[in-house]
Point group: C2
């Protein structure tokens, strides 16, 4: 039942991660809960989604990480690189134009050549 929701969520975890890290450095477990909290539970990506996204973004040079001990707990904090900032900007643009296009079709506007 994976993508089985057909849930309109492809690429969204990456966008959310980049957006949250724009404000401040965060660690994975914190990001998982921040997405839930800020969306009032409407969005809920598990660790099995977020951790691979973080690793992929770091591998691509969009993030940098630094391990830190806090209260005997080992956390991996992430921050955006300049490449990450650009990527966030690009993805946000894509998301905006895409959702607007979908909205246009949903509203049934733009009737080219009505049969």
């Amino acid at each position: 039942m994976a993508g089985g929701n057909s849930n309109f969520l492809s690429g969204v975890p990456e966008l959310m991660v980049l957006r949250l890290l724009q404000d401040r450095e965060m660690y994975g477990y914190e990001i998982v809960q921040a997405i839930q909290a800020q969306s009032r539970g409407a969005l809920s990506f598990g660790e099995g989604v977020i951790y691979p996204v973080l690793h992929g973004l770091e591998k691509d040079g969009a993030l940098k990480s630094k391990r830190r001990e806090v209260g005997g707990r080992s956390r991996v904090y992430y921050i955006l690189t300049s490449r990450g900032v650009r990527r966030l900007s690009d993805l946000t643009d894509t998301w905006t134009t895409t959702t607007q296009a979908i909205q246009t079709v949903l509203k049934g506007g733009l009737h080219v050549r009505p049969v």
Copy 2:
């Protein structure tokens, strides 16, 4: 380079197909071009996307098809069933709430517990 766009398009072809068929019966090839036209080219799903979606929806009882000859051309026309109408309604609701939740996070609102 498949989902490589990370393009926020999962489930969107199905939604578009159902929405277009809400207005009138259409055939596959026509749907492919209607999506392009109505979105001013912002959305472009090939036949390799649309045909499987049509077959899947028909198998699920959301669509009914009827083959018809038009000008020596063989077309498969699709219409919504009552189940398809319900499915469109559900998907539209899901799409709306999901995109609104994403928008909320993007705007950075809802700051629960600022560090």
